[in-house]
């Protein structure tokens, strides 16, 4: 179907205008607003002790959540793509829950398990462990929301490449670990990398679930996204913009990484 030139131009203009009004102009404007008063003020605002702590906490939480979910993701993807077992369809569906459930419900669910009056609250209090309104709660919330990314990236790659090479390796006497390390892992590495990039972006950016469980104590349980909200509510608009610009830069870096990895991932085992 070849559309006529005027139609083609019309569609292009409408499509790009929609994108500009919704996405490009707002995001450009936030950078403009951030830097309109010069770099110095921005630098000061993102190097206050609270901001530095928020940045460190965000990084720490991400560094715990992403490796755990990557490990889970690879193992689960192999089980889903290669194994035959009862309940596979159900597990496959349940993995998507973190994408479909509201972050606020996720936050509440953790409070109801680990909070003072939660299922495990009594036992945890007796043991002197505080989860809710503390860093472990933030970690649990972050792991929850970023759980599906690696599984969902790696499973289709595994199905695509099939298991011929793995079987050949096994026939030639390679053990399970050797087969995984020498055959499976090299062919799924770009799928894993893509999933990791998505997980990192989600971990750094999570707001709703974290805001329910964190308690938002400045310098203790405040992540970067929570800092943005607090500064905005305290009418420190410039400060909110500065922290937002930092997060937006991380998001743009994520896009760059995605664009770099995507073609390799699609080559599969090449």
């Amino acid at each position: 179907m070849t559309v006529s030139r005027p139609w083609q131009l019309g569609l292009r203009v409408v499509g790009l205008a929609y994108l500009a009004l919704l996405l490009f102009v707002p995001v450009a404007l936030i950078f403009y607003r951030t830097f309109e008063h010069g770099l110095g003020a921005v630098w000061e605002s993102i190097t206050t002790p609270a901001a530095i702590h928020a940045f460190q906490l965000t990084l720490e939480v991400t560094l715990i959540a992403v490796p755990l979910n990557t490990l889970f993701g690879i193992v689960m993807a192999i089980a889903l793509a290669r194994g035959r077992w009862r309940g596979k369809g159900l597990v496959n569906a349940l993995i998507d829950l973190p994408f479909a459930v509201s972050p606020i419900v996720i936050g509440l669910s953790l409070v109801l398990v680990y909070g003072v009056h939660g299922w495990l609250g009594g036992a945890l209090t007796d043991a002197g462990i505080q989860v809710i309104f503390s860093v472990p709660g933030i970690v649990l919330a972050t792991i929850f929301v970023s759980l599906p990314f690696v599984v969902r990236e790696v499973t289709p790659v595994l199905k695509e490449i099939g298991d011929d090479q793995e079987q050949a390796a096994a026939t030639l006497g390679a053990g399970a670990w050797t087969t995984f390390r020498r055959i499976t892992l090299p062919s799924i590495r770009w799928g894993v990398a893509y999933g990791v990039v998505l997980s990192v972006a989600r971990c750094i950016g999570e707001f709703g679930a974290v805001s329910v469980v964190s308690g938002k104590i400045s310098g203790q349980t405040e992540t970067l996204t929570l800092l943005v909200e607090k500064r905005f509510s305290n009418f420190d608009i410039a400060g909110a913009y500065a922290a937002s610009a930092l997060l937006a830069l991380i998001a743009l870096a994520t896009l760059l990484a995605m664009t770099a990895i995507k073609p390799r991932r699609e080559e599969g085992d090449a």
Binding site: M1, V3, S4, L11, G15, L19, L22, L23, P26, V27, L29, I30, F72, V75, M76, I78, A79, G83, R84, W85, L94, D96, L97, F99, A100, V101, S102, P103, I104, V105, L108, S109, L110, L112, I143, F144, L147, F149, R152, E153, T155, A170, G175, A176, W177, G205, F207, V212, T225, V228, F232, A240, Y241, S244, L247, A248, A251, L252, L255, M258
Partner: protein
Amino acid sequence: MSATSAPLAPAPPARAAAGSRSAWRSHSGALGLGLSTLWLSIIVLLPLSAVVAHSLDGGIGAFWDAVTTRQALAALRFTVLISLATALVNVAGGTLIAWVLVRDRFPGKRIVNALIDLPFALPTIVAGLTLLTLYGNRSPVGIDIAFTQLAVLVALLFVTLPFVIRSVQPVLIELDREMEEAALSLGARNATIFRRIVAPNLVPAVLSGAALAFARAVGEFGSIVLISGNIPFHTQVSSVYVFKLIESDAPTSAAAVSTVLLIVSLVVLLAIRGLGRWGARHDR
């Protein structure tokens, strides 16, 4: 980010594993499966069952009362309607943009294409602040829609932008152009070709993208919280309502409304899987 369309997209039915494996392998496989299922249960299933269990703490009557207060019903109605509107606008806008990105050629197309995924990479609170900067009371272009239902719609359109585009794009790329050329040579006009050949092929992808957008919109919180003003009976969505209930220490009511939201998510999730199967059949 195909990931964002892929995650909820159902996997094709598993092929039967060919051949047999050494006992060693199946043992390590069983161990891995056990551990990863345990992880899934502790991280996801245990907390979500706590929500459902807690919502019934005061009995079924209390549950019903909590989800049928005027404010809860108003929030739920607004959430579902605004999410439907979001999905509908995405059907039109997303399909159009996917078309432009696949069939049109213009300078900077690759950059535009890469930026489509930005709403997935950008933290939602930053998205909200971003929109408030352009469309709030300090708007440089004089458009102030803050604290209106339209503002909620704009925020939802922002965060759900990639779903339909990313789900339609690959189908449009794969679409066999020979069919269209054949129709053209047989004298069909563009409108007919679109209606009879292009559209039917896109329907499953458009619908599953729209369902993903709907699911995302129902649960969305971060991008809405600043721009909606959270006005009860007007711009308050269910997720923000639940947040207020948690803050005012009413966890049982919060759990009840959350359970309703969970049911909505589950239904949409199942619908998407169904759509995926239908799409896969459509392919053959």
